[in-house]
């Protein structure tokens, strides 16, 4: 109940943000020295034809009016046509989104697992001789961004060891079941373990590359907040009651220290979601990242616009979920 109320409240604030974002996106992309009308026509079109197209696309009207027109169409699910692919932009994004979400989720699982485990390990090492070594290691790990991990993995596993596939989402020749677009889910629904396996193998390298890059900040925040928590009176009081150290860590300290970590993980997910773009490009993973980069190279405005909005929507939804979870885990925020 509390969770639902909080989610509702958070989503209510997300809607205005989405409006502002769509407005900014619209304005930013209209400043471009590119004429979408000219690009949408065959190269041999006459000036009059282009002019007609401009009128048809509403490009001769003032900017605010264009925005209202665009918004009205977007509300009906019409995001315009891709100039490059000559297809419905909304459909293109709908096809690409599940792959990216699947990748980001898998990477987040990797990042959380490594981050929380590593954070606990760093915390256990506090005050020991290994501590500075481990800390320098995390600093160095933080210096490897996701696309370097991706390239290194290709080099090591793909080229040097030739152990893992590193392009696409499936082995060549396999067909997407195409139920929800989420391969792991679809292959189970379709009862195809071979596809499931292939999808998992293809997901492994990109997800680990992405996850590795975003794990170190989680490690550090968990370690720092565990250390802060151990300075609290209630930890000492629990010890004075004779509670064992293991129980103090798991039941008393971790439950408090996870809260700041959770906030960070929410922010991290936004960054990670963006980071997936590079990883997708490097692994030729069909998803939003590749769609976006293609669109940017071809100045495919309708696509850029929808992809930008889609990224924004996913980030806002994830942030709302994290906020809700935070509220569930932190009784101090609940009404008295």
């Amino acid at each position: 109940m509390i969770l639902l109320a909080a989610l509702g409240r958070r989503l209510v604030t997300a809607v205005p943000i989405l409006f502002v974002v769509s407005m900014l996106l619209f304005a930013a992309l209209r400043v471009l020295p590119v004429d979408p009308a000219a690009m949408s026509m065959p190269p041999n079109a006459t000036k009059d034809e282009i002019e007609a197209a401009r009128r048809e696309m509403g490009l001769d009207r003032p900017l605010p009016e264009q925005y209202v027109l665009w918004l009205g169409r977007a509300a009906r699910g019409d995001f315009g046509r891709s100039i490059h692919h000559r297809r419905d932009a909304g459909k293109l994004v709908a096809e690409a989104l599940p792959g990216t979400i699947e990748l980001a989720m898998a990477a987040m699982v990797v990042a959380s697992g490594l981050g929380l485990g590593g954070g606990l390990l760093l915390f256990m090492l506090r005050g020991r001789r290994m501590e500075p070594v481990a800390e320098t290691a995390t600093t160095l790990m933080m210096s490897v961004p996701e696309f370097l991990w991706a390239l290194l993995f290709i080099f090591v596993f793909g080229v040097a060891l030739q152990a893992m596939p590193f392009t696409g989402r499936l082995d060549p020749g396999m067909k997407l079941p195409g139920i929800t677009g989420f391969l792991l889910l679809d292959s189970v629904l379709a009862g195809r373990p071979d596809i499931l396996w292939s999808a998992m193998v293809h997901l492994l390298l990109p997800a680990v590359a992405l996850g590795l890059a975003f794990a170190p900040p989680i490690m550090r925040v968990l370690r720092a907040s565990l250390i802060d928590t151990y300075h609290e009176d209630y930890i000492r009081q629990a010890r004075l009651r004779g509670i064992s150290e293991g129980r103090i860590l798991l039941r008393h300290a971790l439950k408090n220290a996870i809260l700041p970590t959770l906030t960070l993980m929410g922010v991290q997910f936004g960054f990670l979601f963006g980071g997936s773009l590079l990883v997708e490009v490097i692994y030729s993973f069909p998803g939003m990242g590749n769609l976006m980069v293609d669109a940017v190279r071809n100045a495919d405005l309708p696509i850029i616009q929808v992809v930008g909005l889609a990224y924004c929507v996913v980030v806002l939804v994830i942030n709302s979920l994290v906020d809700g979870l935070y509220l569930v885990l932190n009784p101090r925020l609940r009404p008295r």
Partner: protein
């Protein structure tokens, strides 16, 4: 006695690596064994000198057009360092000003800046910078501008929280009661207290700027195509990874070393300049 930050191994290591990068960037014309744009179509995709088939005059081999990889690497440092330094100072300036305004004045200014950050944070930074680069067009100056426009929020978010904490300290109230103006109170009481944090963030941002510049160049939306950038070298080197792996590995390592230098420096500074120990709060 030396100040504490000078005695930290981390700070010294970070300073060393960052200085190395800066020297490479500044002295590239003297250090580079070849003209980085000189093509040698007879010596294309040479592996590194120590590998089979390597050539001693090309220490890290050549690329697909027969250009010397080491020379290109050194020249690539110029773009990387220029962007890193200017973009991070720009983002720091923009973020700090908004943070001081929001954190000290509070009220509707704080609300407005807070909502602006919300809008910014709803975009993954990479996506936002790509969109900005689409609008701005390629070129080093635009890369800097895009980084500033994206990353001012990193400064503003963190610094604003710190400014609020410092503003609540009684010595800030005392300065106002002594008769100082708002501007002087901010400049003399709050800015010095938040300076260590700002310096730390600035250092870390330099590493981020190196990465962003590489990413943008990698997808072909960074500097102009006639400039040499590490990101572009990676994109080119990827094609030749079987014949001349150092085409890919060299820029990857360069980025890692540069970012590690800034990160070590930032981490070291954060520890040794820790405001909290000075102000007795933990």
């Amino acid at each position: 006695m030396m100040p504490r930050w000078m005695r930290s191994a981390r700070v010294l290591a970070g300073l060393g690596l960052a200085a190395l990068m800066l020297v490479c960037a500044m002295a590239a014309p003297w250090l580079a064994p070849h003209d980085p744009d000189e093509q040698d179509l007879l010596a294309m995709l040479l592996p590194a000198a120590w590998q089979a088939g390597g050539d001693e005059t090309h220490l890290l081999g050549t690329d697909g057009l027969g250009r010397d990889v080491l020379s290109r690497l050194l020249y690539g440092a110029r773009v990387a360092m220029t962007v890193a330094v200017t973009a991070s100072f720009g983002a720091a300036l923009a973020g700090a000003i908004t943070a001081y305004v929001a954190g000290y004045l509070g009220g509707w200014m704080d609300w407005l800046i807070g909502r602006a950050i919300d809008v910014w944070m709803s975009f993954p930074p990479v996506i936002l910078s790509l969109i900005l680069m689409t609008g701005l067009g390629t070129g080093a100056r635009n890369v800097v501008l895009a980084i500033v426009l994206v990353d001012w929020t990193r400064f503003c978010r963190v610094l604003r929280a710190e400014v609020i904490v410092v503003t609540q300290r009684d010595y800030v109230t005392a300065a106002r009661l002594a008769g100082f103006s708002h501007l002087r109170t901010v400049l003399k009481e709050i800015v010095p207290a938040t300076m260590p944090l700002l310096v730390t963030l600035l250092t870390l941002e330099m590493g981020i700027a190196v990465v962003v510049e590489a990413i943008l160049s990698f997808v072909g939306l960074g500097v102009k195509s006639d400039q040499i950038a590490w990101g572009q070298m990676i994109a080119d080197g990827r094609e030749a990874v079987y014949q001349a792996p150092w085409n890919l590995l060299a820029p990857v390592l360069a980025i890692f070393v540069a970012v590690a230098g800034f990160n070590l420096l930032g981490d070291g500074l954060r520890r040794s300049l820790d405001v909290r120990t000075l102000e007795g709060r933990e």
